[in-house]
Amino acid sequence: MPPLRDTTGLAPDAPAAPMDAPSPAPLRRGVRVAGIVIALLTAIGVASQSPSLPRGAPTQITASIVPPAPVPAERGAVFRESWVSPAGFTASAHSSVTCVLPDGRLMVVWFGGSREGAADVALFTATLDATTGTWSPPAKIMDREQAQRDLGRPIRKVGNAVIFPDRDGTLWLVYVTVTVGGWSGSALNVASSRDLGRTWTTGRRLTVNPFFNLSSLVRNKPVYAADGRIGLPVYFEMATTYAQMLWLAPMADGRVAGFEMHSLLDPKGVIQPAVVPTATGAVMALRDHGPQRRLHTAQSDDHAWTWSAPVAGELPNPDAAADMIRLRDGRLLLAYNHAAAGRANLRLATSSDDGRTWRPGPMVEEEAGREFSYPSLIEDPRGRVHLTYTWKRERIKHVEFTAVWLDEKSGGAPAQP
């Protein structure tokens, strides 16, 4: 049998190497010592030049940077519906996320195009005029071509995005792009706006995973640490699936000073985390990507830094996104698909014990064979709840309601403990 031919140059007897390449002599003692000294000095020098960023568990987190307006809670039962995306604006619309801007307006971001994953899909935003209750025309803020220019590499498609303000009034956009393959080939990118979404900085790729920087995606809104960091729930879905927390340290000029990712490696099979602060930490709701088809929850005792293992709860989950917020009265409000299969309904539920038990509330949508999915909840400064979601994959719909309406439709207010 002929000997195997080494083509790497690493094998000790690689036959393809030139014959006149003598092996270098071992490093002399002086060179070794010099190398050690230079390495130590370099490490110290690099460490001293590194920006001093907050590290470790936050001391406190909040769900919003916009303080509640000093007005009493609305006493009437209010429920209103409107459309974020105009009829026929795009053939397909999906994955909306809502935020409250520093001036109190609502802004929604979603992706739309001929179909999910198509090359013509773009990210759009619209804002709600609270006085008239009407939505602004959609504004395109990112598409495949723009992402290619920003990121300096080919982009096949854009996908999920979230939008949120920071404490300095800068608006942040974190969005998914894919160069090769499907959604498991996703990577996260960030851009910012100092004029509430009219213009954006050049997008930047975030390297958050070790293996070819695949495959983190984003779905739900962040939490805010008292030290200025922003904790964004994201998730990993290639070969295995699990939740992650991306901690961004924003700078006042709209750049990212630093970031780090923490993966919740156990158990696998849960994605699209939604995080809400609690009195002592945080609670996370997770989409079940595994066989159980139950909504999972996890608890954090150190303000969303470390988490308990997610456990299956009492509510069903058809492998679909859910979102939750904390109401002014302290209850958690959840929007989800109440089914083990299909997304033919969209329902609300409340919890008075930080997500350990849930009280199913009113159905917002229900129609067999259709899809109502990817809810996004937010409470405005007046205490009114806003819900946006994918309506039959055609449009983004918005409903707003008061806690009184919620309780009326849930069979009355819960008993006070």
């Binding site: 130590l40 070790p210 990712m261």
Partner: protein, 204 residues
Amino acid sequence: MNTVIVPWFHGAAVAAIVWWFLLRLSAWQRGPQIDLRVTIVAGVAAAALCLAPVGGVPWMRWVFGIWTNPSLPLLGWVAAGIARQGFGRALISETERRSLALFGAVAGTGLYLHSFLPGAPDLYAFGWDGRVALGGLGLLAVGYFGRGSRLGIFFLLALIAFGGGALESTNAWDYAVDPVFWFASLAVLVKQAVRRFGARRSVA
């Protein structure tokens, strides 16, 4: 991350890897002794290939989109390969080459596969902690220098590259290991194991 340095550094890294492949290809076709003119032509061809448009985009941009963070030890390996194959100069010894492959295989396996283990800690997250990351890279450099190995230079360069933001990644582990380095290291170790196994069988 230094937005000015990153694309140039990546472009140079990809061109160097292509150059090395062309030299290997030449050695395979025409024998191990490579004329200097061939070495230079291969270098120019590598640069041209990197700039060749594919789908309206330079080919190296596609590489950048898929493999963004070439590690410094891999680039050291490539540089040593070019020097050896193209210029007849051995920058590192055979023992150091084996040691490099062993490092790539062990570090890559730990970093890329640990998340599949139940209850595993998030090893990659430590790369964002400056103390741990710089300490890790510094220890590797000091350790290799201490043993008289030139691989210490590779990890010293990794430290410098990390400090200068030469890669898009801000995680220190990406400066020490990358998936291509991991695959190549595993391939080398497997090939060596197969060769040893074959030699033993032929002796028996």
